[in-house]
């Protein structure tokens, strides 16, 4: 009853294979020496990684995605941290409504946000500008950041702050020396998660990007749509490696399952 039978284990193996298959395929193809998408078994090389450096198209897009993610994640943290502290610390009228409103972008399809921003930014003449893209990204990633900040703030034992007060700490000292320190892992993870969501976003950005300002996923999308060649696989493999590194960092700082499951 409590053990997995052989059938369950076979199912598990197939499931894990299914999960890993496309990622493994991408990484294998990136090492091919052919000019088309082929497995590297009949000839391997690093030519497509070299190609990434030679044609800076993807590299530019990569750098765009980096600063876009960093700035929008920081902006989103600036907005969500105070709100999260207010929501978790105080009981006030409209508290539930505010937290529901701040999580609401999760309910809106990115394709809808894409067209809404396209129209809105065009009206204001800021479509295709960094400001527009940063604002749009900050909006869609704020719920993720807010959720981690909230769960970190909620997990603080109120008595710990009372203990500091009883020892003579003033409000500001309690905040900087106790509260902030305790929620720091949550804040860091919130920022990283927000960054990742911005970095990975393709649907909405596809509407807002311009040839001179194109995040990496959009650049990859256009290339795949256009003419699929192994340089896409090489770039994607780098992204997979980065994601794995990010996972390790989050796991060290905050605990990966805590990030995925939202609490605890």
């Amino acid at each position: 009853m409590m053990r997995n039978g052989p059938l369950s284990l076979v199912f598990h193996a197939v499931f894990v294979a299914f999960t890993a298959a496309p990622l493994v395929a991408v990484m294998l193809v990136s090492f091919t020496d052919k000019g088309y998408m082929a497995m590297p078994f009949s000839g391997a090389s690093l030519r497509w990684y070299v190609a990434l450096i030679d044609a800076p198209h993807f590299l530019d897009a990569f750098i765009t995605s980096l600063w876009l993610g960093a700035i929008s994640a920081s902006l989103s943290l600036l907005l969500s941290l105070p709100a999260a502290l207010a929501i978790s610390r105080y009981r006030f009228v409209g508290r539930d409504a505010i937290s529901a409103a701040l999580l609401s972008p999760l309910l809106i399809p990115h394709v809808v946000l894409g067209v809404a921003f396209l129209r809105f930014f065009t009206d204001f003449g800021i479509n295709g500008t960094p400001a527009g893209l940063v604002a749009a990204h900050a909006l869609i990633i704020t719920p993720y950041c807010l959720r981690l900040c909230l769960s970190a703030a909620n997990s603080i034992d109120e008595r710990i702050e009372q203990a500091a007060v009883s020892l003579g700490a003033k409000r500001r000292q309690v905040f900087t020396r106790i509260t902030l320190r305790l929620i720091l892992p949550g804040i860091v993870s919130g920022w990283v998660l927000a960054f990742i969501h911005s970095f990975d976003e393709v649907t909405m950005s596809a509407f807002l990007a311009s040839p001179s300002l194109m995040p990496l996923p959009v650049a990859l999308y256009h290339r795949i749509e256009d003419s699929i060649d192994p340089s896409v696989a090489a770039m994607s493999s780098l992204l997979i490696v980065m994601a794995v590194m990010a996972m390790v960092v989050i796991d060290r700082v905050y605990g990966l399952s805590r990030v995925f499951t939202g609490s605890r």
């Binding site: 034992d157 008595r159 009372q162 500091a164 020892l167 003579g168 700490a169």
Partner: protein
Amino acid sequence: MTFLELNGLRKHYHSVRAVSEVSLSAERGEFISLLGPSGCGKTTTLQMIAGFVEPSSGSIWLDGQPLTTVKPQNRGLGVVFQSYALFPHMTVAENVGFGLDMRKIREPERGRRVRDVLELVQLEQHRDRLPAQLSGGQQQRVALARALVIAPPLLLLDEPLSNLDAKLRAEMQLELRRIQRSFGTTTVMVTHDQDEAMALSDRIAVMDSGRIVQLGRPQDVYERPATAFVASFLGSTNLICGQLRLSAAGMQLVVSDRVALPCPDSTGRAGETAWFSIRPEKIRLVGDGSGETGHLKGKIVMRVFCGDRWIYELDTDVGRLVLRVQNQGHPADEGRTAGLTWNLGDMISVEGGHA
């Protein structure tokens, strides 16, 4: 001279009364326990002294100064929380030094005071550990050291031992008493554990429904409980209810048509309904029920062995009675009939029981 004085403290949350009326005064150096079941208002009372909860009315005085208007961070009281509330990101020494930092106490005095107090709680060798690396008992002592290092005029303990297992709790009781004595700090402790309250306190305030129902030395409260609630909350007891009647032999308690027990005089007037408490260890078994019968006859329905003593449960004409008897090696068998007797003075008249 009164050192701490609680004067008519009340606290309502909207219409709910957490504390209805608490007045109490403590001498310097005294150890007082607020004892009661959960929801009796003891923790709220402690929180009002600490300043985390603002009283709806009433006042608190410490050493002749009003405390109610002082912000909690300026009260300078030592507080030990039930969950210990240690700062998880700071080492033992940093936790203990926090209050000194807030008082801008610099080295070398800071280091000396941290060292002294850690020595006192015997944690000197763990000073660089994080709270998560300590056992429950060690965390408890860090919490105590952190509260004591600021040399507070008053120490507040909120269920300080409730998270420890039974054996450790017994050890920590002695430890706590030793440390409190050596500092001579006036202490108020909240607890729901009667043994803890009796072992540690100079005086116990038994609380029920937001007020103090009895205040006194542990042995006085135990021996002369004022109400049925106190009698059954502090230790276990047998409660007997009946009507007082004056007979030729003196005052009697009429429990039913068949039973009238002799009871101490001057406990009330004839015709009144009265409640009496008799502690299980004050009742003795006599004879086999045929000859000498004592005050009452009963049938042993159950007996439980507890090592140093036996506990018997008997069916009698006044209901189920519980006895606690020293283990002398010759226990009475279940199913046997026996006589019950006690000294008249051990029948304590108490106020109102739950019929």
